[in-house]
Amino acid sequence: MIEINNLTKKFGKTTALRKVNLTLTSGTCVGLIGPNACGKTTLIKNILSMVVPTEGEIFFDGKNIHGDVFYKNNIGYMPQIGRYPENMSVRQVLQMIKNIRNHQGTEDKELYEAFEMEKIADKKMRTLSGGTTQKVSATLAFLFDPPVLILDEPTAGLDPIASEILRVKIIKEREKGKLILITSHLLSELDDLLTNIVFMQESVVVFNKTMEDLFAETGENRVSRAIHKLLKTEVLS
């Protein structure tokens, strides 16, 4: 579905991504994890062409995304910190994105209803709290039923109830055979969500494994412990 070839991104002198190669296929839920400033968000922004790669290519469904915008119709994106026009109401934001995407077919209103968006639909974006803004972002990402979902720190700032709603929704979408890419620091949350793990450190991909392989190699059954163990052994060897 998404193929990344030799992707390098430099911001001035700092290198955010160094020769990243990655293939993401449909029907998997990929966890992109790693310490702060390891290049996770930059990788996602590259996939959405919000930043322009210094080197390398990204293919979406076999097509180079360079100079193309229509592939984004197939992506639902939930940013780490949703930044919206302050003067627009929630309803206006949703309506504008609908107009832009010119979406044919049904809308997925599950999250809209679960998060009770109708109650806040006429509030201005600037009056919303961080968590509520995240709910708007999540609703937008899932609204058009896209085959690819990219969620950057989806649960950061959400209360436990909302977080659980979102988790259930993610699992449900995974079962439909979508590609879901999640970044997170909270490893404990990811246990029953993921099928694959991509670990990044200092702007390179350290490993890309399925959960079964990871658990088999380490003899653990929790994501957090397995990764700890794997990193320890890699440092030692």
């Binding site: 922004k45 062409s49 592939y71 107009n99 832009i100 995407r101």
Partner: protein, 255 residues
Amino acid sequence: MKGITTFIIKDILKNRIVILYTLILCGFSWSIFSLEDNVSKGILSLLNIILLIVPLVSVIFANIYMYNSTEFIELLVSQPVKRSSIWYAMFTGLAVALNAAFLIGIGIPVLLFIHPLTALVVILAGVLLTTIFVSVAMLCFILMRDKAKGIGLSIMLWLFLSLMYDGLVLFFMFQFADYPIEKIMVLLTAINPVDLARIQVLLQIDVAALMGYTGAIFKKLFGTQTGYFTSFIFMLVWIVVPYFFSLRLFKNKDL
């Protein structure tokens, strides 16, 4: 991308500052024409507003609006919208809204009080200046990530084009008064859009005679149909070049 453009136009027209700007322009033009019996004198007073206030408000408002729309632009980039469409929508939105304010504030009274052909030149000068300074403001936005620097740069450019440039040209003229510098003078004037607007309006009200020999040359060069056409082209260049330059930078900007 009609949706985005109309959204921006509506958003700006609802803005209190733009409404205030329209009212102030209205107040100026109506009071000038009702108090002044001599239409030529009236146009001269109005000219100062068109050459100073209109570009200043356009450049600062457009620049601040761009900075305030950073989130909006970011949101649009993550959606299936071409970057060139986003840039075009921002430009059209700002230009249409600010020109609407100008046309209501100055265009209508000018059409009512003065000779239609003169009125047309005055209105065209104002519309072109508004659009030029919107284009310049967008260039300043893309050149400077920092808001304070961007607004500073756009004010500096306004100051330079509206006030300092004339001073420098005058200085140059006095220094080289003994040489035949008329052609260079004409060229120097043609480079600055504010000067072009000034000359075109002045030629309409026949005070070019007061400007002496240089005035005569201006009349000869700019007063003809080719002259009008050339000044129009030069002003269009001031819209097109900053626009496409900023568009190129925007296409490669990391958000």
